[in-house]
């Protein structure tokens, strides 16, 4: 019920021309925004410097891009013959048990280092499937009936493999990986017919993979630096059975920094029960949203999908209370509503989308360490969320106008002493453009179908 009420707070009984923020109402501390490098980095990382650098800049540069801080590196399960699309299968470093060829996956490595240079500061290494040799089916796409594909005797070896890779990345490549995610969407029936890497696990199997990984981190002296991010639930709905199993375990539960959940297919009425379930049974559990893209055919570079993205981010942050929000594949070559950037393989064109810039309305301004504060808007078409910097010197307000008409509103509740102001807009006309700067105006205008960030500082 708490979150239900919180959701209602976004539509308080306010006049349509008023937005209110409440710095005394403190919610979660934001850990950052990010995106996955799965499958594109291994190709695009080998492109001409101008193009690959531009892509990384758009994603990770805080001045000229959207300033993401989290990079999700995919530890591949090994190139697979049964996956037709080369952008759906990834190299593994492993040559044979305990033997690695660290020259592999060089393109992806280039992208990761370039992202680090541009501003990525938190790195998550995630796995979709164990390497083929550790699986029941001998394939990285899953077991024939969609059951767990990790051989029962391979849990410790799989854990050691992930730790070996991460230790190499940290110690030899200088990438400070701080999270390993060993499991991805375990509830789906990953099987032979799937066109990408995946592995089903039941709740007990998720728990035991997590436990094995924690033990491997302990054994290798990495526990202080690397944590386990699980369980990358494929959706919010019906994830209670996995959550209950993980968070009831006396050894594993205290060592989990958060629950990683994907927002695919998930509506508000799917998220609320999970938030409430955690509140009732495991209060204080943090949630990361670690994968989302709109699941629809067709390319769209405009505001329609940008609004869908912005509303999903806003809902996850407010209703879901997530402390981090991470996008699925940052770069897409497909005719699908995924990717923050599209590329064409034929001419290696790099195509920006409004989705990129709408995510930037959050990521460039709502920085790690910022605390979400209370916010509400009176106008029916407006949703709002607000954040305050740890030193209280800056307040960031993100306003989405879903309507087809401009909305003008004043803002109440700003802490005293704020004198400087900037307004950054993503709309049909603007791509995170600075539309106002200077002293704080008496009112603000939000164009139709736009995402706007208001930044106030002392």
């Amino acid at each position: 019920m708490l979150s239900f009420l919180a959701a209602c707070m976004n539509k308080p009984n306010l006049p349509a021309d008023e937005i209110i923020i409440n710095p005394d109402e403190k919610h979660q501390t934001i850990e950052g925004f990010g995106a996955s490098a799965a499958w594109w980095a291994q190709d695009v990382g080998g492109w001409e410097d101008e193009k690959r650098s531009r892509i990384v800049e758009l994603l990770y540069n805080r001045e000229t891009g959207i300033g993401l801080t989290i990079y999700r590196y995919n530890i591949g399960g090994g190139l697979a013959d049964n996956i037709q699309d080369p952008w759906r299968t990834a190299e593994t470093f492993e040559v044979s048990p305990g033997v690695y060829d660290w020259s592999r996956d060089a393109n992806a490595m280039w992208v990761m280092k370039a992202a680090q240079a541009q501003g990525a500061e938190m790195f998550v290494a995630f796995v979709n499937s164990p390497p083929a040799r550790m699986t029941v089916s001998g394939l990285t796409t899953g077991e024939k009936d969609g059951k767990s594909n990790l051989k029962p005797e391979m849990y410790d070896e799989f854990a050691q493999y992930m730790v070996d890779v991460v230790r190499h990345l940290r110690e030899e490549e200088g990438i400070p990986i701080s999270y390993i995610s060993p499991i991805n969407e375990p509830q789906w029936d990953w099987n032979y017919t799937k066109g990408q890497e995946g592995c089903h696990y039941g709740p007990q199997e998720v728990l035991e993979v997590t436990r094995a990984l924690l033990h491997a981190l302990d054994k290798n002296g990495l526990s202080d630096d690397v944590q386990v991010s699980v369980f990358e639930s494929g959706e919010w709905k019906k994830s209670q059975v996995y959550i209950d199993k993980l968070l009831k375990d006396p050894e594993v539960a205290p060592r989990l920094p958060h629950l990683a959940i994907h927002s695919y297919w998930s509506k508000a009425e799917d998220k609320t029960p999970i938030v409430n379930f955690l509140e009732r049974n495991f209060p204080g559990t943090k949630i990361w949203q670690t994968e989302w893209t709109e699941m629809k055919e067709g390319r769209d570079t405009g505001m329609e999908t940008a609004l869908t993205l912005a509303n999903t981010v806003q809902e996850d942050l407010t209703l879901g209370g997530v402390t981090s929000w991470q996008y699925w594949i940052a770069v897409s070559r497909y005719f699908y509503r995924d990717g923050l950037i599209y590329v064409n393989l034929s001419d290696r064109a790099v195509i920006e989308t409004k989705r990129l810039w709408a995510l930037g309305n959050f990521s460039r301004y709502v920085r790690p360490g910022y605390v979400r504060i209370g916010a509400g808007a009176g106008a029916a078409d407006i949703t709002v969320s607000a954040y305050q910097s740890p030193d209280n010197a800056e307040v960031v307000v993100v306003v989405i106008n879903n309507g087809k008409k401009p909305v003008t509103a004043k803002l109440n509740g700003l802490p005293a002493g704020m004198t400087q102001f900037g307004q950054y807009e993503t709309s049909g006309a603007e791509s995170l453009g600075e539309v106002l700067k200077g002293s704080i105006p008496p009112g603000f205008t939000f164009p139709p179908e736009s995402v706007t960030t208001l930044v106030f500082s002392k």
Partner: protein, 430 residues
């Protein structure tokens, strides 16, 4: 809410509706002559609009002066219909389901009582048994949609497993005692592992809600007041939970999660469960599994028999300029002639009881070569309880789904879960 408060609320509500100029009890006045097609919205997959069109063609042959234009909305149906209504688009006939009172509560569809009586429709005859979905589609005395398609939740059972165990097939005469006895005998164990479950169900509302009604319980009482933690409901939900965690004759959420493709329907289809309750739609898919020898039976009861009716109905949008003609359309479509293509084109079970009981339905070959007891659907008509639909149906589902999670996980008992849920439902219906 005290009774007098309820009465006052009802009076105020009906006044409000009449002030809004519709919704409650419209005078079935003469509609103007039709000068433009009546727009009818439907959802579904590819076959569905074809069947609706075939039915409309039958209507057109007899009523050429009332043209109807079918608007097929394959995705985001409710959202799109709501948007069209809000945008002032003139819709006339809209397909509705459990969300019917989401529309009626907002005054977006009109009450049909006057039209029904003026046309002399005998609802009891048309829908048989307990009146099918008429009760569910009625809110505060007004019928808001004519039931059109649907079938009951029935018991699918594996005949080979029953035969092997020497058990009589499921029947309407069963009580929970016979049901549990069969489920236990049908469960095949290998040490701690269950190889075949006697029964398979889960957290989907028709499954557990049926058990509450079988025990004489309800979610809302006759006055629309939540009664989710009545002794009857608690006893029923405890029995339902015990099937999984005490008697271990049905899979838990974790058991399903371990299976890869988990859920009662696939588990039954894979021959890993002897009994499973679902709707008419499974007949077709199960008939494709050659090695599975199965049939269907009406549900049973404990204190009384009960089953859920699924389906959809046809309502008239408030903005329709020709409500009288629109009713003529839906009266025809839900009549025997207008319903028949639902059967002949193998779309669904019709709500029309006459057609549901007809040889045309029983012999339509729904299960291919298999001989299935399709009479189980008509035989369910007199045990169907009136679904607790209301303008708060969706919110109610969210509260129930949210707060019964621990019950299904086996971490809280039925009384604890329902005692938590009841006040939240009361808040919702305040």
């Amino acid at each position: 809410m005290k009774l007098y408060k309820l009465l006052i609320a009802l009076v105020v509500f009906s006044l409000l509706l009449s002030a809004c100029g519709g919704g409650g009890a419209p005078a079935a006045t003469e509609s103007p002559k039709v000068t433009e097609p009546l727009v009818m919205t439907v959802w579904g997959s590819q076959l569905d609009p074809e069947v609706y069109q075939a039915r409309l063609d039958l209507f057109k042959a007899k009523n050429p002066e009332i043209p109807v234009e079918l608007l097929y909305i394959p995705s985001d149906y409710s959202q799109k219909v709501q948007t069209m209504m809000a945008g002032g688009e003139s819709l006339c006939i809209i397909q509705v389901a459990e969300d019917v009172h989401g529309y009626s509560g907002k005054g977006q569809i009109i009450g049909l009582n006057d039209y029904v009586s003026k046309a002399g429709v005998d609802l009891a005859k048309r829908y048989g048994g307990t009146g099918g979905l008429v009760g569910a589609y009625t809110w505060q005395g007004q019928l808001y949609a004519m039931p059109d398609r649907g079938g009951a939740l029935v018991m699918y059972y594996n005949k080979d497993m029953f035969d092997k165990a020497g058990l009589a097939y499921p029947s309407k005469d069963w009580t929970w005692k016979e049901f549990l006895d069969a489920a236990e005998k049908l469960t095949v164990r290998n040490g701690d592992t269950v190889e075949v479950y006697g029964f398979a169900a889960g957290d989907w509302w028709p499954w557990w809600m049926s058990f509450i009604y079988m025990n004489g319980g309800a979610i809302l009482d006759a006055n629309g007041k939540p009664v989710a933690n009545s002794p009857e409901a608690i006893e029923a939900m405890q029995f339902y939970q015990d099937l999984v965690y005490k008697y271990k004759v049905a899979p838990s959420p974790e058991d399903y999660a371990n299976m890869g493709q988990g859920g009662p329907d696939p588990v039954f289809a894979q021959g890993k469960a002897a009994m499973s309750m679902t709707g008419f739609w499974a007949v077709n898919s199960l008939s494709e599994i050659k090695e599975l020898n199965w049939d269907i039976a009406p549900l049973f009861g404990n204190k009384k028999n009960a089953t859920v009716l699924f389906g959809s109905g046809l309502a008239i949008a408030k903005g329709c300029k020709y409500p009288e003609q629109a009713f003529k359309v839906i009266d025809f479509l839900t009549g025997a002639e207008g319903s028949m293509p639902i059967v002949t084109m193998k779309q669904d079970a019709p709500a029309n009881f006459e057609v549901l009981s007809s040889d045309a339905f029983l012999n339509a070959g729904w299960a291919g070569d298999k001989k299935i007891n399709l009479k189980a659907l008509a035989d369910s008509a007199d045990i169907a309880f009136s679904l607790p639909l209301s303008p708060k149906w969706n919110e109610m589902q969210t509260v129930l789904g949210d707060n019964l999670a621990e019950l299904f996980l086996g971490t809280k008992d039925a009384k604890t879960s329902l005692d938590i849920t009841q006040p939240l439902l009361e808040d919702l219906f305040k």
